[in-house]
Structure formats: structure tokens, C-alpha cells
Symmetry: D2
Subunit: 372 residues, 4 copies
């Protein structure tokens, strides 16, 4: 189960940094939907390294191939294979493998879990694993957009101590987000963030940040009660992204400092349904969407791989000083934006199918309210 | 799937507020473990309403019955049925059912999802649903304690704007937590919290808070990579608890404001393994436990049901003023402490079984490091 | 997972022979459906012991209680708890527990798997476990009947060497099946079967038999390709019933002796769809229903518990002669009829929900055939 | 779920006949096991078309590539990607797509389920889908062989009306099976089968048959009670193979004609455990292995695609005569042998991991029998 996510629409990812490639199988996509690589590539391009001077200098094209499940431009309803071939397919020689577990990396824990680990590049703990999710999630985004008019937009709302001005969740678009390489729609904050990331990169250090995400037009009624609450699945999805340390929905941690009388979202009549006057709930009540924008925030720690010397120990416990070589991201949040969006899409599209299953039996119902 | 959690050790909950009862089925418990109701009742007692003047005045004894899966005091390896009978089993008459969805409650979303909802008490969205989880999680706690010496302790670290002094995660115990009804181990903060809750109750309003939890002695290697990362499953578990709005592990949102050089946890030689000098990772790296204490925090919003008048609309969109009657919790965090602990236990015990499955094939391995 | 079956509509069973009771949780039932105990009890009555002189003389009323998930006579969409309380809740003292594993029983294998086993009555391997399935499956039958007009009828087609004349799968009803206690619609064969069972009971021996089942009006398109093929899930469902040794669909094993030119089912125009001239496929092609009656057969071995002396060994390997005491079924197939029907209903109703999920996205499709 | 099988060790297959390729992801393989393509290719070679004059004349090399999850010849514990690239990757033009659903094929049912289908080659209903299973199952076979000394051998026991002499399940080997192209260890029957298949091929017709399979050295205790009984999972696995119509374990359908006194398997003292004198149970009691050889039989219908003219109707209901062109198998059972073996391996290896998970908690147990 460890590499699989979702009930009806589900994704299984595979691949390490230096094997033949990375990718995913998306199972459960509704049949007959137009789909080709151009639906998927844009989000992979927003995720790829080397896209701006804010990210790692490594250049990886990450071209996706639809391997199966689509014919003559239409989905067949069968598993959609999505593959990005690795350019460098030579794993390291394990005799030369580092004897030093990188601090705050997964080297040590993988070794303890498996008694073995990929010789280089972080294996499955590498950010490269997210390629399969982004590709599958881009398909989920299309299902949601075509099928239900849903829009998902994420952006960088903080880098280190620089917080952006609050964005308008009703109107923000990906175009507005992509006006600068840091993917922050507040131009002033974006400039300062950019400068900070450049400085930190120069200093061989790293910084963290926060990604905020809104999902608009999610129909009231999607989501499950109890363990598969929409916010619970979103939290799992987000905390499964490498380098994440926190998740909050609606009012989040700040909401703990409000009184109920201020925190509650009173209802109001909206077009054909009930809306809420405020949205401290973040669009979800009791695990189920209420029709308001779903808004959540994800905390990303500063990347663990830094060029600065670190005092640590090797696998045998001997003191060493580690200085990471190579080209690494000084800040991951700009590249995390499409990962957050596509993971949210996977959660919502699975919820969509599960709700369709129930609604297929509408004629069984004897409703209690309204026309009964 | 909506009412089930876990892969090998898994719990299914059932029951509404006014049906015959609430409870759960715990499947996958290792056989031959001593178990009786006295292993489970203490956590239910810490969860039950009416236990102090800080909680609702409703008195519910919530006595658990082990229904199946245990014989002569030993688990059989078969599904353990856990039931708490409801005292009041009369559902409301749906003709008298409220036409007003309570703000920030699940009345509206359940109605939109199902076209029907339990007539009173919140149905499955009620906190009463958590009884089944706490009962099952108390069994998981025993598996972890007997099988691996794991200790799980949660406490109230904030109520509204009152934050407790940082607790020592290595030494804090449930006894220390239970010295006051607010379950905050900082006596000074606890006094102020208690006063605030009493005042808010008087004012017919409510307040939120934060629960912090530590899991000690979790062996390095437990947890899964990718979607079932230990922090991802913990996040799902916590966000599935009613009234939660956020989750953070280790440094959490505050960690986004540190540089990598300050945030990284250097390794040090510990007894027979590697430890870390700091614990910003919160005991988990790449989804897998590293042997340090697992530390996380959960945000609870102020309860939605308050006696103060609220301007809202009814199901038909007509403006109304709602004043909730009845006895409700002004603050849920003291009662949430055992829920957080037992949900964490369910996550860890499932991870334990999954790791045992891999370790059963140790003789297959040709290790790369150490003796090879 | 061991006690759970189904993806969207799923059942978890629990309970041993001498614990508080047996039952199941049915999760995923569409909301708003009228349901009360009288929908469930008839199939339990057809399953219960002591209903005729052909079965064990033990009398068990097996009255079902709907524990949760239904209010004011309508399903809520939440987990439906179904419980039958055990009359005799005293487990045996394990010091008196039999040291002799019964031949062809699960005593030995449970002991080897768990290192422990229920002290009497067979525990989870007891036919009593099927109560939870039958109760849940009776609800599934109602979903299928109300929602889609599906009819499921099973009957005894053979007892030992006595085979019934072929029944007409298009017209056979449960009333026709229940005209005699052996549940065989061929009156002449039924008389001979009845006589044989009576004789075998007298001789303290047992006999096996075959149950045939038809599911009518299953819409073309239900079912999944690959591992969850409709016939694969039916096979799993049937082989999970105690005492079953075989499953065949359509032409089954006899079909292996036909040539393709004789075995193929040519299509013909039917009302608004394509039908087939013959039905060697048994209503399923490639795992997916084709709209024809689904017909399958299940082999039940002679019950293992017999009064005749058996030479065997005890757990320590010492030779013993075992003569089973008590009142046991000389032949299980008459009581197996409702178990086969309700398990089939669980498979089909889950398939129904899965197909509804896909069909909810029909507007996405650009069909290749017909109106395009 | 439709393309996934297994709980801890699980396989997901993907690919149609004319997409980029077919294959599978095997998740949950224990880490550190030596593995390369040469462990997998032999079973693919036994499955591939064109291997003898008994099969289709199509020549497909079906070379497997390990795509991920293995490094420097050792499994990493991460998902193992297994790919066979298709030679002909051009799907047909759907305007030229056949308007005639092939009798007893999945053309009609896929169209009804999905409203679309692969334009040629049968899509996912094609036998080509089994490549991914055989590749993954070959890895499972290695886990079982290295980890537990388990041997799995299948063979053709009947073709049409020609039945082979009963084989000795304790001694039969794959070498004995592969001495002739029909894979029947009875040389006399094999000769007659071979002649029949050649004749039927000449006549443009087809024949079915039966594959028998034995799994030796499966430890007592593997398997799950209730829905995941070992025989239930084997039945699902076998009925998920294209063209299968039946499954029986141990005495099977013939066992229904025995009395209990003849059918029961008395225990006897074996080396360090209990064995049984006879094996009508087929190595499984109550869903759990008893240590005896697991023996089951699978019925395969005659292939549906035949060159003889068939009177049928097109999708619009118009009468047509269909004569299939191309090169098709006159009999699938020789090629089905490795599919049956590898599917059995997937079931058993998943059961192995699940049992290891329980056994990891052995120190919790207070055993009732033996040393207590």
C-alpha cells in the first residue's frame, strides 16, 4: 500500500533517481475523456529543476510519456501508465556509497527500515518521486475541470520570515501566481523572497516557506465522514510530500485563538444553495465540502542538503564534518506549488467518484427535507 | 472505506448518538495477548463527558463491552468487537427535526451528501463517534506497550491565547498530565486555562486550543515511504478527529522560519544506534521513524455549538437567530487528549505490524553496510 | 483485511460461537433506503439450524438487531451494525479444551496460525460466522432489488450422487425452491435427497452437494476487468463460505470438453441491447456482465463433524479414536442456499456502486460507436 | 482496485495490446533479495506465443525490463517496475474498428461498461495483460523459494476429453512438465493431446482443458480466515485469468459425491508437526494451510476466437457471419501453466508476509497448548 493513494481513482508511483525512470499508474480514470501529454507536461514543467535561478541548477527536461490507457486521444477507463525516463540511469557503486547519513535526510531511516538503500540521489525519498504524482494529478485536474468546473490554485505565501499579503481566494489564478519565479502573487513580497533565496543560495544555506492552496467550485456533499474526511485525506496527501512539516485548513492554528462566537461561519442564502458569511471552516464541515472555497496551507522546512559544513557522525558513529557537494534547491516552495495542486486534485477526484457512486442510487431515497 | 482505518491492524467504527450504541471492530490484533475491559475503560473515562466542570455537564458512563475476539482473557487474533451501549436510544421524530443547520456544524453537509441525516445529536459527526476509536486505540496502546515498550503521552499545550511552558518530551507522563482537569502539565498555565474555560462557559461561548503529543521508544525503521509516511498517516488520523484544523510535526510551521543550517538535526552516536542532537524532524525522516521521540501538535477550533445568539439562515434560506440549548463543551481539548493518544497508537501499531512483515524475511537480505 | 469484503459497499464480520454475539458492519449502503429487521430476518431464518429434520437439531432463533445506521426506518448512509446475540455466551474452560484436532476441521490450522484458538464451537471457522454475511447480504439484496430489479435465486442441484433435473434459470423463484426442506426445485430428486440425508443422519455420517445460483437482470457493464472480474469476486465469495471446495461459472468444467465452435455464445438482437443465443459464458464476458443471467455452481463437501468413530491423532501425535458428540448437520447445502444468495448480492451490489461511480462522468465521454 | 491484487505484496498491471507496452508494479517485495531479469524471463518464455506449433504462430519475444526497485542486483524494498515493450505500438484507427462484437469475447461488455474500447487486440481483456502478472509472480516465486523452500508446479491434466493419468503431487517437477510442448507429464496423453490440438488448429476450431497445480512446503498457518481464506484468494486469482470457467481445491466437485467418513482427512504424526493421511482438503482447512501439498484445478474454456464462420449480429443488431482472421491459439492451456503458477505465487507470498506480521509479536503470546 505504501506506494498507492486513493480508493476509486488511485495512483501508484514507482522509480528511484537512477533507475530506468520514474512514473505512476493512474487507475480508475473515467473513460472517453480527451487526454494527451500536453495536458500533463505543463505541471511537470512547473515542477522541474532548473526552471529558474531560484531552484537547483540541475537541468532535467522530465518529458512525460503516456504509456497505456489512452488510445486515439481518449482515455479507455483502463490504467494510465505515466513515465518519465531518467537521463542518468547508472546507479552508484555501493562500495563507494557514502558512509555518512545526511542530517535530516532519509538515508539513516531507509537503512534502518530496509537494511539497504539506493546508492545515490535519495532513492524513493528523493523529490524525483513526486514526478509520478504530478503527472497523475494533472490528469485528475482535467477530470475535475472538465467534469465539474473545479479550479485549484496554489501559491507561495511565505518564504522564511517574509509573508505575502493575503491573496483573494475567489479570484487568484495560476497566471497571477506565475508572474514571478518564486510563485508569490504579492509582487512586493515576491521581490524580497527572490532576493533572500538568491542570498541564501550564495551562502550555501537553505530556507523554508509556506504554500497556500484554494480549490474552488467543489460541490457541497463531496467527502466522507470519519477517517476519510476531506481534510484528513488532504492532510495525508500534503504530509506525504517530501519536506512538509505541517498542514492547516481554514482558520488553522490561528483559529485556536478565536472564540466560537467569532469562529463560527453563519449561513446565508446563496444561488440555489446555502453559503457561509465567513469561511473559517475552509470549505469543509464534518469532513464534507460545503460548497465554499477549500483553503489550506502547507509548511515546508528548509531543504536538508546544504553546502555549509555540518558536524555529524557517520554510520559507525564516528564524528565527521559533512559539506554537501552538487547543485541543490536553496528553497523548494516555488517548485512545490504544482505538487500541492496535483495532490489536492487526486484527493478531490477520488472524492468525486465516491460521491457519484452514492448519487447513482438517488431514486432509492426518501428525502426527509424539502419535497417529501 | 469511510469508516475504516489501518492496513494490517485496522479499526471500523459504527454508531450514531441515538441508535443502540457506538463502537468499533478492531481487526488484526496479534493473538494471545492478555486483554479485558480494564485495559480499555481508563481512556474512555478520560474521554467521557461530565468528568469535570470544564466539560459538558452531560453525564455518560460509557462502559465498554468486549463483544468478541477475546476468550478467557486472551486475544484470539480474530476481530475484537468493542461496544458502548447508548443510554438514550430514541431518535428524534424527523418531523420535529431542526430546520436550521447549525453554523460550522455538519448538519448542512451531511444533508447535501446523503439527502438525509440523523435527527439529533450530530449522528456520525458527533464526538460520540470517537468512542469506538478510543476503545480500539486503547488496545493498540497495549500492543505497543507490551510488545515494544512504547509510551504515548498527549497534553493540552494551549487554550485560546494561553500557552503552556514547553514540556520535556522525554519525561512527561500521563500522571503529570492528569494532575488538573484541563490536562495541562504547566500548573500556572493550567490555572489560567481553567479560569478562562469557566468564564467562557458562563458567557455561553467556547474556546479552542492545542494538544501536543509525544510517542517515545518507537524503533527506527517503522513507517512507510511515499503516501503512507508516518507523519502523513498521523496527519490523516488527527485531521479525522472532529473539530481539528491543523497538524504539525517537529518544527512545524515555525520551522519554515529557520534556515537549513539551524533546522537540520545532526547525528550523534547513541546506545547501539544513531541519535540526533536536535529533533526538528520530530522523530521522523522521509516518513520513517528515526528512533527519536515523535512529537506533533494538533489544533482544535472552539466548539461550534454555543448558547450565544447567532444570525444565520434555515435550510430554506430564511434569516433566523439560533440560540443553542442544552449542555455543550465550552472547550474540547481536555477530552481530546485521550483521542489524540489512541489515534496515534492506531497509526503506530499498524506500522509495527507492517514492519514485522518485512523483517520476517531478514534472512533473504544481503546487507550493504556493516558485515557484508 | 481478513474479516472484510467489498470496495465501496463492504462488510466486516465479527464474533465467535461463544462470545457475546456475531454480526457484521455493512458500510457504504446508499442513504434514504427503507430498511428494518423484517428485510433481513427471512434469510437468517432460511440459514438457521433446526429449521427442518434435515439439519442439525440445535434450535437457534438468530434474531437480528439493526444496531446503527438506520433511523426512523431509513438508511442514513452510515455503517449499518447488524448483531445476533449468542444464547450461550460461556466459552469453555481452556484446560478442558479438546486435545484432539477434528479431522478436516480448522482446529489444527487455527492453532498453527495463532498459537491459540477459541475453546469450543469452531470459533471464527464455525458456520455461525456466516450470520453476519447473510444479514449484510440481505441488505445488499434489497439495494439490488429496489435499485435495479435484480433477482437472485439459489437452490440445491445435487446431494451426494443424486442430481436434480436442470432448472429453468429464467423462471425459477425462491418460492419454488422452498417447497421442500432440501431446497431442490425438482420434486422427485428432492424426495430422494431427503431420504438420503435422513439415512445418513441415522448412520452418523454426512453428505455433500452442489448449490446452483442465478442472478437475473444484472445490467450489462457491471463488473471490473482484470483482478476484480465479476466471476473472480464471485469465486472468492463462494470459496470463502465454510465447506466449499469448488466454483464454476457458465459451462464450467464441462465446458472444457466442448470445442470453441460449440461453446461460443453468438449474439442476437434483444430488446434495446444485444443478447446471446446460448449462455455458456454464464452471463459474464471478460469479467463484466453481458446482461444475460449470471449462473454459477458451488461445491460443498460433506460436513467434517460426524458421529462415526475416526482414527486420528491428538495434538501431541498420539493415536486416538474420535467420536463426535452433539448435534451436527448431516448435510449443509439446504442451509447454504441463502448464504450463496447473500454473498452473491454483496458482490453484485459492490459492482453496482463501482459502475455508478464511472457513469457519473458520462458527460465527459466522447463515445466511439453509435451517435458520434 | 480493478488492476491491483494483494495486500502487503501487491501487483498492479497496466497496458493494452497496442500501447507502448504492458507490465506491472510489484510493491512490498522484501528488500535485499538478489534479483535480475533472468529470474523473470523463463516464466515469460513459457507464457509467450509462438513457442511451439500448439500455440499461435505469432512470434513475440516479450523481453522483460526491470524498471525500478532493484539496484546493483538487489531489491530495495521499493516498487519493482516490470515492463515488456510492445512491438506494434500503432492502435487501429477507430473508424475502421470492427462493428461486430466477437462472440464470447469482451468486445461487447467493455463497450457497455466504458462506452469505448481499445480498437484492436482485445485491450485489457487480451491475454497480453497476463504478462505483467507472470513477471510479478516470478518475483513472488523467488521470494517463496529462497525464503521458505516452496515449490509450485502446474501442468495440463486434460485437453478436451483427453485426461492425463493422475500425477504424483509430491514429486512432479517443472522439468517433467516441460518434456513436451503440451506441458502434460503423462507422455501417452500428451501425444494424443498434441495430435488433437494440431487437428483442431487445422479445422480452425479450438479446444479447452484443465490445469492442475500443486504448491509444496507451504507452512501450516499461512492464510487468513473468513473472506481472505487461502482457497478464496486462489479462486479469485484463477478466475481472474482470461478464459477460466472453474476452480476446485482438493476433492473439488467430485468430493461432493463422497460421504464425510470417506472424505475426512485423519491426522497422523509427521516430522515435528501433524500431517494428514489423505488430502481431500487440498492442503487447506478453514482457509489456512495445514502443511500438506496445496492442490487445485482450473478449467479453461476453448478460445473464443476461431476461424470457422459464426452466425451472430453486429453492434446494431444486424445479422452477420464472422470469420476471424489472424493467428490465434487453438488451445491455451499449455501457455496457461506459468500463469497459474505465478498467480498462485502472488497469493502465497502475500499470505507469507501477512503471517510474518503476526509472528513478529510472538513474545506477546501466552500459548494455550503445549508448554503453558
Amino acid at each position: 500500500m505504501s506506494s498507492r493513494f486513493g480508493t476509486l481513482l488511485n495512483v501508484s508511483t514507482f522509480g528511484e533517481s537512477h533507475c530506468k525512470g520514474v512514473g505512476s499508474i493512474l487507475d480508475g480514470c473515467p473513460p472517453g475523456m480527451p487526454l494527451d501529454e500536453s495536458d500533463i507536461q505543463p505541471q511537470l514543467d512547473r515542477r522541474r529543476p532548473g526552471q529558474s535561478r531560484l531552484t537547483t541548477d540541475r537541468q532535467e527536461a522530465d518529458q512525460v510519456t503516456i504509456f497505456s490507457g489512452v488510445e486515439n486521444g481518449l482515455t479507455l477507463g483502463t490504467p494510465i501508465g505515466l513515465i518519465v525516463y531518467n537521463k542518468d540511469q547508472r546507479p552508484g557503486d555501493y562500495r563507494e556509497m557514502s558512509k555518512i547519513p545526511r542530517p535530516s535526510h532519509a538515508d539513516y531511516t531507509y537503512q534502518m527500515k530496509y537494511g539497504i538503500r539506493a546508492s545515490s540521489g535519495g532513492g524513493r525519498a528523493s523529490a524525483r518521486e513526486t514526478i509520478g504524482r504530478v503527472a497523475a494529478g494533472a490528469v485528475a485536474e482535467k477530470i475535475l475541470r472538465l467534469g465539474c468546473g473545479i479550479e485549484i490554485v496554489a501559491w507561495v505565501s511565505a518564504v522564511n520570515t517574509i509573508a505575502a499579503a493575503e491573496a483573494d481566494v475567489h479570484t487568484i489564478t495560476r497566471d497571477m501566481v506565475d508572474t514571478n519565479p518564486v510563485r508569490c502573487p504579492d509582487p512586493d513580497a515576491a521581490r524580497r523572497m527572490e532576493a533572500l533565496v538568491a542570498q541564501v543560495k550564495e551562502e550555501k544555506d537553505s530556507v523554508g516557506g509556506i504554500v497556500t492552496c484554494v480549490c474552488r467550485n467543489v460541490p457541497a456533499g463531496w467527502g466522507e465522514p470519519v477517517f476519510d474526511k476531506l481534510e484528513a485525506r488532504l492532510a495525508q496527501a500534503m504530509l506525504s510530500i517530501p519536506a512538509t512539516k505541517g498542514f492547516e485548513i481554514g482558520s488553522g492554528f490561528a483559529g485556536t485563538r478565536l472564540r466560537g462566537s467569532a469562529h463560527n461561519d453563519p449561513f446565508r442564502a446563496a444561488e440555489g444553495r446555502l453559503g457561509t458569511v465567513t469561511n473559517n471552516s475552509g470549505g469543509i464541515q464534518g469532513g464534507i465540502a460545503n460548497g465554499e472555497p477549500i483553503v489550506f496551507r502547507v509548511a515546508f522546512k528548509p531543504p536538508a542538503t546544504i553546502g555549509l559544513p555540518q558536524k555529524t557522525v557517520d554510520f559507525d558513529g564516528n564524528p565527521v564534518v559533512l559539506e554537501a557537494k552538487g547543485r541543490h534547491d536553496p528553497c523548494v516552495v516555488p517548485r512545490a506549488v504544482p505538487i500541492v495542486e496535483t495532490m489536492a486534485a487526486l484527493v478531490l477526484a477520488d472524492g468525486a467518484l465516491r460521491q457519484k457512486a452514492i448519487m447513482g442510487f438517488d431514486h432509492l431515497r426518501r428525502s426527509r427535507l424539502g419535497g417529501d
